[in-house]
Amino acid sequence: MSPVVTVTDLTKRYGDVTALDRVSFTLAENRIYGLLGRNGAGKTTLMQLLTAQIFATSGEITVFGEHPYENERVLSRISFIKESQTYPSNLRVKHALRAAALVYPNWDEEYAQQLVEDLRLPLQRNVRKLSRGMLSALGIVIGLAARTPLTFFDEPYLGLDAVARQIFYDRLLADFTEQPRTIVLSTHLIDEVSDLIEHVLLIDQGRLLLDSETDALRGQVVTASGPVAAVDEFVRNGTELHRVRLGGTARATVRGDFGAAEHERARALGVDLVASSLQDIVVRLTTSSNGPAADAGSAVAADKEAVR
């Protein structure tokens, strides 16, 4: 099965600033991807490039086998819900939805109405008078009801209350199960979506730090705590990302291949092992990745030096 998106050596520069630096990855069909990274990491830039909203400095982009620029066949199969999306000021919510209904070939009007009700969107209100949360809700309705084979959500929850966010996650998952498609979710609220995303793409300072299945990642990063000497001994088999010392004990976040044998070894050493949460993993990886040797895709290997 050919990938939905293929990106090779993608670079985007704005003057002196390198927003994306030789990024390469592929997105497979019918999966939910988490595009994670700090503010200014290059997440929005990446999604704007994939939807041909902006132009790459260099590198290759293929979406559904073709380049998306001015390509109606490709563009009509993508929806990109951008956090900073603006709407013409003379539109009411119902107008924005009608416009979306005209544009997307698979638009599901009934579903859109249901979402409007669930998220309590005021249809008659002018888009300029919407609160930040309501603007996000409008984007969510458009993104879900568009039913496009490739959907990008760029921080779709900004300003949304916890209830609305939960409705979004529930609807997204239910709809995904019913009508599988490729979804890219760019988010800061990693803990909230960690059960939702199947694959993690982590970018930092324009570089791809991590491209991994979420499940595989979970077992790979653990927090080891115990006497300093024992922890020192244990982390020799992995990459130490972070360490806190408290008197004679240490707590280290370690990345490596932790199978049953490693757990046995930890027990023998008197080291306590706890699997890190996805959020912890992301925080540790991004804060320990300032090494200049970091290379796209394999940056983690260089982290050892950066930490010490």
Binding site: Q53, F55, E70, E72, T86, R92, A100, V103
Partner: protein
């Protein structure tokens, strides 16, 4: 083609405000003029001509700018190509121009038939277009819409593509071009010749022919600019 039509329809989703503003302003201007000239009392030898008709052209000019600055980011956000957006936007604007010009033409005919709405008011009749040919008369209403519309589109796409710096550069270039030609014409003493040329042009050429010739390159250049513009 399909997507082009979609964009044109998309820009009409809030059709009340799209159609409402130009005609509400024109109606307001007309009502004020009518009231004013009725109050002045009728004199048979006095046939007032107002500039009130200009209001609808000004509103449409402003609308053509905001169609790019506001609808373009929205349309691109919904996954429309730049080509489809541009063609749809042009269709949307030209469609309005064709219909609006027909309505204005009709109003001008009514104005003539009713002796200037009973008070000798000349509001819809264009004074210096002294052609009776109906097609030219119609075009006299329609082509200025197109010229102003495409000037607005051209300005807006420059802004979208190059931002504030683009606008300042464009203003500087325009200033140098206009100022430079003024200096050149004055230095060479060509003013009277130019005045004569304008005087020699028939009304139809000034209102239809030349604007139409200007509109075409503007449309082409705007298309080339928007193809690399970002929302």
């Amino acid at each position: 083609m399909n997507r082009t039509l979609t964009v044109a329809r998309m820009q009409f989703v809030a059709w009340r405000s799209v159609v409402g503003w130009p005609w509400a302003i024109l109606l307001l201007s007309f009502a004020i003029n009518l009231a004013l000239f009725s109050a002045m009392g009728e004199k048979d030898d006095f046939e007032p001509t107002t500039g009130g008709l200009m209001s609808i052209y000004v509103v449409m000019f402003v609308a053509s700018i905001s169609a790019i600055t506001m609808d373009f980011p929205f349309a691109i956000g919904l996954g429309v190509s730049r080509r489809s957006f541009y063609l749809g936007n042009v269709l949307h604007f030209v469609g309005q121009a064709i219909v609006y010009a027909a309505v204005l033409y009709l109003l001008a005919v009514i104005e003539q038939a009713t002796d200037g709405w009973g008070v000798n008011l000349r509001f819809f009749g264009i004074p210096f277009l002294l052609v009776e040919h109906p097609v030219l008369r119609y075009l006299g209403f329609a082509i200025p819409f197109l010229l102003l519309g495409f000037v607005g589109i051209a300005i807006a796409v420059v802004f979208k593509r190059w931002g504030m710096n683009g606008m300042l550069t464009l203003s500087a270039v325009a200033l140098v071009a206009v100022g430079g030609s003024a200096v050149l014409v004055t230095w060479q003493g060509w003013w009277s010749a130019i005045g004569g040329w304008f005087a020699d042009q028939p009304g139809a050429a000034l209102l239809v022919g030349w604007p139409a010739l200007l509109t075409l390159p503007l449309a082409v250049v705007s298309y080339l600019i928007i193809r690399r513009a970002t929302p």
